[in-house]
């Protein structure tokens, strides 16, 4: 057997996932974690002492287990990630079980779901893993039958010998295959022969989710578990000074009351945890607490003043993001100068499953965690160091996320639960109430945008400026953010749209913020696209041109954006006049997650109100794994985008969040959900763009542009009220 290199394997850890007794074929990649350098290794015969990341386990019984490293939060990785392996391994959907990984180092450092990146980052690598296993099994069969490999092929977990028709199941081949080495360059299937990839597939988590069997973090139960609810200060940045637990301790079921720290990057706060034998008792105990806080002046924080603070900051020059041509001269000398100021709000993630975590700090400093998390790798990488533990001392169980949207990229609620378990030395399930979830942050940051534009004599965009004023997410996550440089996250996309603009100068102005901030679905594009694409419409209107034509005039070269807009024109029937009283608007956005364009159609109900009729979405993907799931993601992104555009966001008064639940921070309901028509551009080939986020940024600007078309009202502030546009 050839040298498999310096990789070590810890068999004990593999066996944790299965009850393997005999030989199994275990395949994974060595721990390089770079796309191109992935090397597939056969580690079945490896002795104790090798590290690896096993994605496939095939048992002699024929049972096949595939591992999903990307947490499932409704975006479909539970189906799409294993499918990459299953396709090449010639498996049908019912022929394997999927297991979610818990951040174990052997599965690599990218066990995280976010950035619309899961499928794109796994596509080549996991196909290779599956193809390699397939080839080993086919070769194993050819050896067992003593026939040429070329006469054998794999299909539906069996290898067949073409001339004789005989076949063997993978389980019967595993012993022979396990003795072989993994091929370095397995042949990948021709996409034309795909049975699974590129076809709408049923997701294996769906039956669990319609039967109440799916286990979310909040559903976890472990022996000896207690429950906790934490009273945290509603004023951001306040400190705990004193608390009286005497009344809380009298509540039946309450066992103890202890302070506990929540750590969100640089933002650390201590609350008071009530620990009880039931969650209801913990809640009641918490209501009986008397707690004293030192607000430290932070009670002054309020939205009216904060919004004015951002407006005042807009007068600053800011730091240049990108400058092409000579904006100042071109704007000064241009025709039809337009200046406009756009404002957007803080919003909450409001996942249906509120934050929660179950942690067990055990004897001998072993830690076990159960969580709905988007970032198993972060938990396994960061928690040991934080708590003085070894990497192997921490075990994580990744549950189905009841919504992520970026909130579960943070591990503040995990650290809080670990802190509590460590203090009480018991397994504890710490659940945030909906009020906690809505009022403690972190939030999506607001961005304010100072827009300037001027036309040339032939009505084209000659000068353009997008100046962004915003607080930053990074200021909470890194010790000292370098404020002499632009924060790339907070200006994403504005300087990188495909539009050909001869003179453009975009810039960024830093703002501070006492409330913690975090990535939200499509991050800053969710607000920047609103200002950017609405302002382009303003310029188009100034030029007296159709907004789509105005954009196409700036897309003279072939580009993905041009293709998307052309398709959008076609599928939305853009050039056909709309009936009286209806309006349509267009927007597109190209950013780190991908590219999509949308047309929204509205009906004017009065001179101050509209209803949304229909949304067309064209998403540029290149390669698609599960078309039906892409449609679902677009449908969901539209609903979330509309919510952010038209429903009250998060506001502050007296240092605290004013909203507390779904009555004062509503989300769209079924009555408000419009028809969504999705068209996927999938030319095939090696380009794969993201799916989870691109559908969101174009929603608000396309809607606002449609409202302008229908009513003549130009909206520059989100949220706006569809029933009272003028506010």
């Amino acid at each position: 057997m050839k040298n498999t290199g310096n990789i070590t394997v810890n068999r004990r850890n593999f066996l944790r996932y299965t009850s393997l007794t005999g030989t199994a074929l275990i395949l994974g990649i060595s721990n390089n974690n770079t796309l191109g350098a992935a090397v597939v290794s056969n580690l079945s015969n490896a002795t104790e002492g090798y590290n690896l990341s096993p994605f496939i386990i095939i048992e002699k019984s024929g049972k096949i287990t595939l591992f999903n490293t990307k947490p499932e939060m409704g975006q479909g990785t539970f189906q799409s990630i294993p499918a990459l392996i299953a396709e090449e391994l010639e498996l049908a959907p019912g022929q394997f079980t999927v297991v979610q990984t818990g951040g174990e180092k052997k599965f690599g450092a990218e066990q995280a779901a976010g950035g619309s990146y899961s499928v794109r980052s796994s596509y080549e690598m996991l196909r290779k893993v599956g193809a390699s296993a397939r080839e080993m099994l086919v070769t194993a069969a050819s050896r067992q039958w003593d026939v040429p490999v070329s006469e054998c092929y794999a299909e539906f977990a069996r290898v067949f010998h073409k001339p004789s028709g005989r076949s063997l199941g993978y389980g019967e081949l595993v012993e022979t295959a396990a003795a072989m080495e993994a091929p370095e360059n397995p042949r990948l299937k021709d996409p034309k022969t795909f049975r699974m990839l590129g076809k709408s597939s049923r997701r294996p988590d769906v039956p669990l989710k319609v039967s109440g069997q799916a286990v979310f973090g909040i559903d976890v139960e472990v022996p000896g578990m207690v429950y906790a609810s934490v009273e945290r200060c509603p004023v951001f940045g306040a400190a705990l000074t004193d608390f009286d637990a005497s009344h809380a301790l009298k509540v039946t079921g309450v066992e103890q009351v202890v302070p506990v720290e929540r750590v969100f990057g640089n933002y650390k706060t201590t609350g008071v945890a009530v620990v009880a034998s039931s969650y209801w008792a913990a809640l009641k105990g918490r209501k009986a607490l008397r707690v004293k806080w030192d607000y430290r002046g932070n009670e002054q924080f309020n939205s009216a003043d904060y919004n004015q603070y951002l407006r005042d900051l807009a007068l600053n020059e800011g730091i240049t993001d990108v400058s092409t041509g000579d904006f100042d001269t071109a704007f000064a000398g241009g025709q039809s100068q337009v200046e406009a100021f756009y404002e957007t709000p803080f919003v909450a993630h409001a996942t249906m499953e509120p934050m929660n975590c179950t942690a067990h700090w055990k004897e001998g400093n072993q830690l076990e965690i159960w969580a709905s998390t988007q970032v198993p790798s972060d938990i396994i990488n960061e928690i040991p160091g934080m708590f003085g533990l070894g990497a192997d001392d921490v075990t994580l169980h990744t549950c189905f996320n009841g919504g992520g949207f970026g909130r579960r990229l943070a591990i503040d609620f995990v650290i809080e639960a670990v802190n509590l378990s460590k203090a009480i030395k018991k397994p504890v399930k710490l659940i945030w109430t909906r009020e906690d979830d809505m009022q403690m942050g972190p939030y999506r940051p607001p961005t304010f945008s100072a827009m300037k534009g001027a036309l040339s004599s032939d009505g084209k965009l000659a000068a353009f400026q997008h100046k962004v004023i915003a607080p930053t997410i990074l200021s909470f996550l890194v010790p000292q953010q370098d404020k002499t440089k632009v924060d790339e996250t907070m200006v994403e996309g504005i300087s990188h749209q495909a539009y050909e603009i001869p003179n453009m100068k975009n810039s960024f102005v830093y703002a501070d913020c006492p409330a913690p901030l975090l990535w939200w679905r499509s991050v800053t594009s969710s607000t920047l696209a609103f200002a950017h694409e609405c302002f382009l419409d303003e310029m188009a209107h100034k030029a007296g041109k159709d907004p789509l034509n105005f954009r196409m005039e700036m897309l003279t070269k072939e580009s993905d954006t041009r293709r998307v807009l052309q398709k959008l024109r076609e599928v939305s029937n853009w050039d056909a006049p709309l009936p009286e009283g209806k309006g349509r608007g267009i927007a597109q956005w190209d950013f780190f997650a991908g590219l999509a364009g949308e047309v929204v159609e509205v009906t004017r109900l009065s001179d101050n109100s509209v209803k949304i009729d229909k949304v067309y979405v064209v998403i540029d993907l290149g390669t698609v794994v599960n078309p039906d799931n892409v449609k679902a993601q677009m449908e969901g992104a539209v609903v979330m985008g509309i919510t952010a555009a038209v429903k009250k966001g998060i506001t502050f008064a007296n240092g605290r969040t004013e909203q507390s639940n779904y009555h004062d921070s509503p989300v769209l309901r079924i009555t408000e959900s419009p028809e969504v028509v999705v068209h996927i551009l999938a030319e095939g080939g090696s380009t794969i763009k993201g799916v989870g986020e691109p559908g969101l940024p174009p929603v608000a600007p396309a809607l606002a542009n449609a409202i302008f078309h229908a009513t003549g009202i130009r909206l520059r502030k989100m949220p706006f009220d569809l029933d009272d546009l003028r506010g």
């Binding site: 039967s211 919504g403 909906r434 449908e635 639940n661």
Partner: protein, 156 residues
Amino acid sequence: MAKYALNINGKKIQLEAEPDTPMLWVIRDMVGLKGTKYGCGMALCGACTIHVNGQPVRSCSTTIDSIRKNDLITTIEGISENLDHIVQQAWIEEQVPQCGYCQSGQIMSAVALLKAIPNPTDDDIDTYMTGNICRCGTYNRIRKAIHRAAAMQKGK
């Protein structure tokens, strides 16, 4: 603490609880049926929907003390033995759930809707389902699945 005898999914269960304990926590933590979910605690989101005598009820706002002696309680776990309820079948056909957290409540509301109105219009669906929030935005598929289930029911 008081003693209670409940009928949940056809099983008789005896337990002791504080009278003001919401049925949501009784079902989840005392009986161990986790399919019914906590979303808001204020009957705003519908994730906690169960049936009491076939009627949809928000269990987060229903105390154990308010349950009467012969009330029949049904949770998501009790609507079928093998995922073979017509609504569950339609939900799978249409691939409705995304994260899935709200779906137990959605299904419980839909089951009650179809019992009351076997051939619902879109307006009927709006009225019955408006109390169930879905943050992932699966509403259009929920609507399609209800229509599908109605058609399947008719065909039977």
